[in-house]
């Protein structure tokens, strides 16, 4: 598979969806493209568009639910629903909600959007897997701003307590949130050290390197929950959105869209 070509196609879909919807979160969606791509095309087992709720599937919870255009583009590409559905993203009657809804969209494992809750629900899913003696894993994408939510740390504490080595958090660490840099709004400090202090293993990688994301996910478990610190660029792929917190949730004008479309070859 040509991963770069696939990433470009996802970015094209994301930008088209967001322009058409005249709402949504470009910066946050573009920063996690390679992470989510690596998960769906390399990591997640038993993902089946014909049986989205297949019991033995690995779960993926996009706790930073505002990045969902990226997940929707991939689910459409995999055949969970028709590609045309992407055109109605965020519109009345569409199954593609502004933040994912597991009862509306095939392939969505969990309602997310209220930050921090997906992290906690995914810990519950991992604990339920242990309880059932099932061998599926639970992958959860969290944001750096999201990590300011206390429930992320409640979930982290419980995951270590219950030795959830089937739980993997991927941190989309682009350093920016709505009001500015993490360090200006509310410093995360050494977030790997924080997770390690909570009893997790951590690894830091380039979040735009598909092979690195894949390897970090599939590395043998040491018996602890794992946090993969994915260093990313917010707005990656569209030059004027890159590293610009203003594009967290900004609406594209016609001129913005034309410029982005040109860069992405739409």
């Amino acid at each position: 598979m040509d991963y770069e070509k696939k990433a470009l196609q996802i970015r094209q879909d994301v930008v088209r969806m967001l322009y058409r919807a005249q709402s949504g979160h470009p910066g946050s969606s573009l920063s996690c493209v390679e992470i989510v791509e690596a998960l769906y095309y390399n990591v997640l087992r038993n993902i089946d568009p014909d049986n989205p709720k297949r019991p033995d599937r690995d779960r993926f919870v996009m706790s930073k639910g505002h990045g969902c255009p990226t997940q929707y583009a991939i689910l459409a590409d995999l055949g969970f629903f028709p590609r045309e559905d992407l055109e109605d993203f965020r519109q009345v009657g569409s199954h593609l909600q502004g933040h994912p809804d597991c009862n509306k969209t095939p392939g969505i494992d969990c309602n997310v959007g209220s930050l921090g809750q997906g992290a906690s629900v995914s810990a519950g899913m991992a604990l339920a897997a242990k309880h059932a003696g099932a061998d599926y894993k639970v992958y959860c994408l969290i944001g750096d701003g999201e990590s300011q939510e206390g429930i992320v740390w409640e979930a982290a504490m419980s995951a270590a307590h219950y030795k959830l080595d089937n739980l993997i958090f991927l941190l989309d660490h682009n350093g920016l949130q709505i009001d500015g840099a993490n360090d200006k709004v509310m410093s995360l400090g050494d977030i790997c050290a924080k997770f390690e202090a909570f009893g997790w293993e951590t690894v830091t990688i380039d979040g735009h390197d598909i092979q690195a994301v894949t390897n970090a996910c599939l590395a043998p478990s040491s018996g602890k929950p794992r946090m993969i610190n994915c260093l990313t660029v917010k707005g990656k792929g569209v030059s004027f959105m890159e590293n610009n917190f203003g594009w967290h949730g900004k609406v594209m004008s016609e001129a913005d869209y034309s410029a982005a479309a040109k860069e992405l070859g739409i």
């Binding site: 019991p55 809750q117 629900v121 519950g124 339920a128 206390g150």
Partner: protein, 311 residues
């Protein structure tokens, strides 16, 4: 009337017996297993019990994780923390996806007693009732608690069971059918109707006796389910009696009284009054003293009904 066991013990015992017949049941608590009495289940099925420590928000979301995986979790803590502190987790992680999580939250209302206002939830019915997909059940005695625990499992979606800390007099019978959403007439009457839930049901029955002594015939209806509210029963009584009084150990804002008022609005008929906690926080004291302090006695109910009837 015979005094039963404490409502939370009745809950714990029912949960244990449910666990024996349904292997999908798991129980979650937040460091209050001894108080909520989930310890009874824990001691019987230690490998189906999970403690989340003093972190109620996380417990609610992890309960959602269990439900997403096909289990039927019962999550317990105090009502103030489960319905209050973790409200938005209950709303977004549990109710929004309509998951099969059963919240059995104890120490509701002023029967908490000495711990005082910080721990006395007088808003939980209001909070839980306002969330789409949620069913709200307030059992009135140990027999009904047992039925409610089993019935909650048959409800497709989230259920809030309000569990009192204290004992309640036994006012229902084993063989009375319990159907969520269907109010039960405990006593017939033709002049006034007293609608009550939870610990106020025996008080409403006592109030009916007081009213009968004064020549007023009072019906008593057990509204064990606040949502969905039994509209049919409310409208039927509205056209049959001269006055309706609701009685609940909860704020008069948003609970049983409000639910009944919403049905009555626009339907001329009986005069209507509410007995409940009058938009104030609780205080420390012995439970029975607090029922008197907040005007939640049989006499208070009877006086309100009499005033409306005689108006």
């Amino acid at each position: 009337m015979k005094m039963g066991k404490s409502m939370r013990v009745a809950y714990g015992e029912a949960l244990r017996d449910l666990g024996a017949v349904n292997d999908k049941i798991v129980v979650l608590d937040a460091d209050l297993a001894g108080a909520t009495q989930t310890c009874i289940f824990r001691d019987a099925y230690p490998d189906r019990f999970y403690d989340f420590g003093i972190a109620e928000a996380n417990m609610m979301c992890e309960a959602a994780g269990f439900a997403h995986s096909g289990y039927i979790p019962f999550a317990s803590t105090f009502a103030i923390f489960g319905a209050g502190r973790a409200f938005e987790m209950v709303r977004n992680a549990i109710c929004y996806p309509k998951l099969n999580v059963k919240l059995a939250l104890s120490h509701s209302g002023v029967c908490v007693g000495e711990d005082g206002g910080s721990h006395q939830s007088v808003e939980d019915i209001s909070l839980m009732r306002s969330v789409p997909n949620m069913t709200v059940i307030v059992p009135c005695d140990e027999i009904e608690m047992r039925k409610a625990v089993f019935a909650a499992v048959d409800v497709d979606g989230p259920v809030y069971l309000r569990v009192a800390r204290t004992a309640s007099e036994i006012v229902t019978e084993e063989n009375t059918p319990f159907v969520p959403g269907k109010a039960i007439t405990l006593k017939e009457g033709s002049d006034v109707a007293l609608f009550a839930c939870g610990l106020m049901v025996p008080r409403a029955l006592q109030a009916a006796k007081l009213l009968e002594e004064e020549g007023i015939s009072a019906a008593v209806v057990n509204f064990h389910t606040i949502k969905p509210i039994d509209e049919e029963a409310i409208l039927a009584w509205n056209s049959r009696v001269k006055a309706i009084v609701t009685a609940e150990e909860h704020s008069i804002i948003g609970g049983l009284g409000s639910a009944v008022a919403e049905v009555l609005a626009g339907n001329p008929g009986a005069r209507f009054g509410r007995i409940g906690i009058n938009d104030v926080f609780g205080i420390s004291g012995k439970p029975e003293d607090l029922f008197r302090y907040f005007g939640l006695t049989a006499e208070n109910i009877a006086d309100k009904a009499k005033a409306l009837y005689s108006h």
